[in-house]
């Protein structure tokens, strides 16, 4: 019995030594031993092979319509043009009030079109894949195809759950613990210049460990546009992991609400070594206070650039939704960043109504890997004639264009709330001005 436990202890020690030497040390000093690269190459080859097998087994060219394209052919005409057409077949000119029952046909058809396909509802569920990537969770419509594929799928489950997942969980725990300890330690130092350098190093190191903990492969583009101190960095939001992705390449000041529990400990530790902007729950409601604190932070040129996600909620990485204007009213330089995940290797979208944070992280750790591209866009300033909303839209379009995402005007808050009545009234107003407008020109 004792031998057994001694054996287990010995195995655990070897395991930890391996992790430290092969993964943590390279992460700390920023070089790579090539292990992850090899893993990724094998993975890519396997997935390509799986796609080929699936294609070979389907008899004809069954092209699946991707839901981000349109499903139905919509009339391009505006409300006025269509109603004109509808009315052309009227037997005689109207007497008073240009209204006829056929006008509602236009609205009925538009309504049915929205029911069949609308731009917004699909953004709050995970992106659909073109071909199966051998994960159970994406196996919606794909049926049994071949024995080889099933074997690889089974092997994949074993590898992911029994080998990769424990490894990743260990790494994540080590990373977080080290973050807390390291930042607290740095916080104890007096304010020498070396303090900020040390704090940056500790932060980046911990995020690198966390990134290894997710098998993340990140490609940064246009690094000459990286956000500088005194600016605000804005990015599209897909999941909490966005923070890890961005902080792997630089240090940012976070903005957010102070939580209790584990998150709170991490937050309090982080703020000891370099200034972040954490708010109490009550303070978040006071917009002026929030703006003032952000302004103060930005104006102090020694502080790190602030990282903000203006969408306010997680979207599924096929589109960019409305940016809230708050961060664009502060008046500092905006550094836009576009983040695009590759869904083949794992779905990064956090559907917060479906999964809690913990189950989401577990899902992340049992995916194949996390592959994403990060583009740094050139800095933008608010122009003279534009207000905060127009500026926000301009930045949003730039990010959408770079990342290959659809640029939508809708508010991400629609995930949980309903559309305001004012939108319906707008349509009503437009239609009534047509009816009454005609009336005044007809009556005499």
């Amino acid at each position: 019995m004792d031998d057994f436990w001694a054996g287990v202890l010995w195995a655990v020690k070897i395991w930890l030594y391996l992790i430290v030497s092969l993964i943590m040390v390279p992460a700390m000093f920023g070089f790579s031993l090539g292990i992850s690269e090899t893993y990724m190459t094998i993975l890519v080859k396997t997935l390509e092979w799986a796609t080929l097998i699936q294609k070979a087994n389907t008899d004809e060219e069954t092209i699946k319509a991707s839901p981000s394209n349109g499903l139905i052919q919509r009339e391009d005409g505006s409300m006025e043009k269509e109603l004109e057409e509808l009315r052309r077949s009227r037997p005689k000119p109207p007497v008073g009030g240009d209204f006829t029952l056929s006008d509602c046909f236009y609205f009925t058809r538009r309504g049915i079109e929205s029911i069949v396909d609308d731009e917004v509802t699909q953004r709050f569920s995970s992106e659909e894949l073109v071909s199966w990537n051998l994960l159970t969770r994406t196996n919606n419509d794909f049926e049994y195809i071949s024995l080889k594929l099933t074997l690889v799928y089974g092997l994949g489950i074993f590898v992911r759950y029994c080998i990769l997942a424990p490894l990743r969980i260990t790494l994540a725990c080590i990373g977080l613990t080290w973050l807390v300890i390291g930042t607290s330690a740095v916080g104890l130092l007096p304010n020498w210049r070396i303090k900020s350098w040390l704090s940056e190093w500790v932060h980046v190191m911990c995020y690198r460990i966390c990134a290894r903990g997710l098998s993340a492969t990140i490609r940064y583009h246009n690094r000459e546009n990286k956000p500088k101190k005194g600016g605000i960095c804005v990015a599209n939001h897909t999941s909490p992991i966005d923070i890890v992705i961005l902080c792997n390449d630089g240090c940012y000041a976070m903005v957010g609400q102070i939580h209790g529990g584990l998150m709170g400990i991490v937050q309090r530790a982080m703020v000891r070594s370099c200034p972040h902007v954490w708010f109490e729950r009550a303070e978040m409601k006071d917009r002026h206070l929030v703006t003032k604190r952000l302004k103060d932070h930005v104006n102090d040129k020694t502080k790190l650039p602030i990282l903000i996600f203006p969408e306010g909620t997680c979207i599924n990485n096929t589109s960019v939704m409305m940016f809230k204007k708050g961060s664009f009213e502060i008046g500092s330089t905006i550094y836009p960043v576009a983040i695009k995940y590759d869904p083949k290797f794992g779905d990064a979208f956090w559907n917060s109504s479906k999964y809690s944070m913990v189950s989401y992280l577990l899902r992340m750790m049992t995916s194949w890997a996390l592959v994403c591209n990060v583009w740094y866009l050139p800095a933008m300033h608010q122009k003279e004639e534009e207000d905060a909303v127009q500026f926000a839209n301009r930045v949003k379009s730039a990010i959408a264009r770079q990342g290959g995402l659809v640029d939508l005007q809708w508010d991400g808050g629609l995930k949980r709330a309903k559309v305001k009545e004012t939108f319906k009234e707008q349509q009503q107003k437009k239609y009534s001005s047509m009816v009454v407008g005609d009336d005044s020109s007809n009556s005499d």
């Binding site: 389907t58 008899d59 004809e60 069954t62 092209i63 699946k64 319509a65 991707s66 839901p67 394209n69 499903l71 139905i72 052919q73 077949s89 037997p91 109207p94 007497v95 008073g96 009030g97 209204f99 006829t100 029952l101 056929s102 006008d103 509602c104 046909f105 609205f107 009925t108 058809r109 309504g111 049915i112 079109e113 929205s114 029911i115 069949v116 396909d117 609308d118 731009e119 917004v120 509802t121 699909q122 073109v130 049926e143 290959g404 629609l414 309903k418 559309v419 939108f423 319906k424 009234e425 707008q426 349509q427 009503q428 107003k429 239609y431 009534s432 001005s433 009816v435 009454v436 009336d439």
Partner: protein
């Protein structure tokens, strides 16, 4: 091109395809949409329709949503409303908006037109008495026109009355001063909209599946 997509897991689609006239592919697409709207449940309720933002902007969304739950539209000679619908009912109601196939006889085209117009008539005849009364007509006008702003309730009412008068004069010809026009019956409705190319105006066209390119 007409090649049947091999979906071995959905034999019920063939049944539905015969019943509603949609192709297997289109049924697959609509089924996905149904699941998306119902959050993967078996049945849809009214609240889930109201979650669609595009639809929320539509002034007559209440009538459109109600049409899905109206038994008269299920081709089974039923009456009244239900509170939940399954995929089959969803598909049957949608089939009213299917564009007619190109090679059908004049008689069949007439039947299709009548069916679409019946659907629209049912949408407005909310108490199912066979006529669209002045009250129901007024209701439609109010929904479409703005309740706030320049157009007051009185204006909406007078517009509705004027339009109704016009309909009466078209359908009944000359009326005696004390004759009372009860409402638009289905026959009047058909007469009003005779010559109106409803089969093209009231159809939702699916994009040809073959020409959609894969994204990435």
């Amino acid at each position: 091109m007409g090649a049947l997509q091999s979906s071995p897991g959905h034999p019920e689609y063939i049944d539905l395809s015969e019943k509603t006239g949609f192709s297997i592919e289109q049924i697959g697409v609509l089924h996905k949409r149904f699941k998306q709207l119902s959050h993967n449940e078996e049945s849809l309720r009214r609240e889930q329709f109201e979650e669609i933002p595009d639809l929320a902007c539509n002034p007559i969304r209440a009538q459109i949503i109600e049409a899905f739950f109206d038994k008269r539209n299920y081709h089974q000679n039923g009456e009244g409303t239900v509170n939940e619908i399954g995929f089959e009912e969803f598909l049957v109601v949608m089939s009213h908006f299917r564009p007619p196939s190109l090679h059908i006889t004049e008689e069949q085209l007439e039947k299709v037109r009548r069916e679409k117009l019946r659907f629209l008539f049912n949408m407005h005849d909310t108490d199912n008495d066979g006529t669209i009364t002045l009250e129901e007509y007024r209701h439609v006008v109010e929904e479409l026109l703005s309740r706030s702003g320049a157009l007051g309730k009185e204006t909406a009412k007078s517009i509705a009355d004027a339009a109704m008068l016009e309909v009466a004069s078209i359908s009944m010809g000359h009326m005696e001063p004390d004759e009372f026009y009860e409402g638009i019956t289905f026959e009047h409705f058909l007469k009003l909209l005779d010559g109106f190319e409803i089969e093209s105006k009231m159809s939702v066209r699916f994009l040809n599946m073959d020409t959609i390119t894969l994204c990435k």
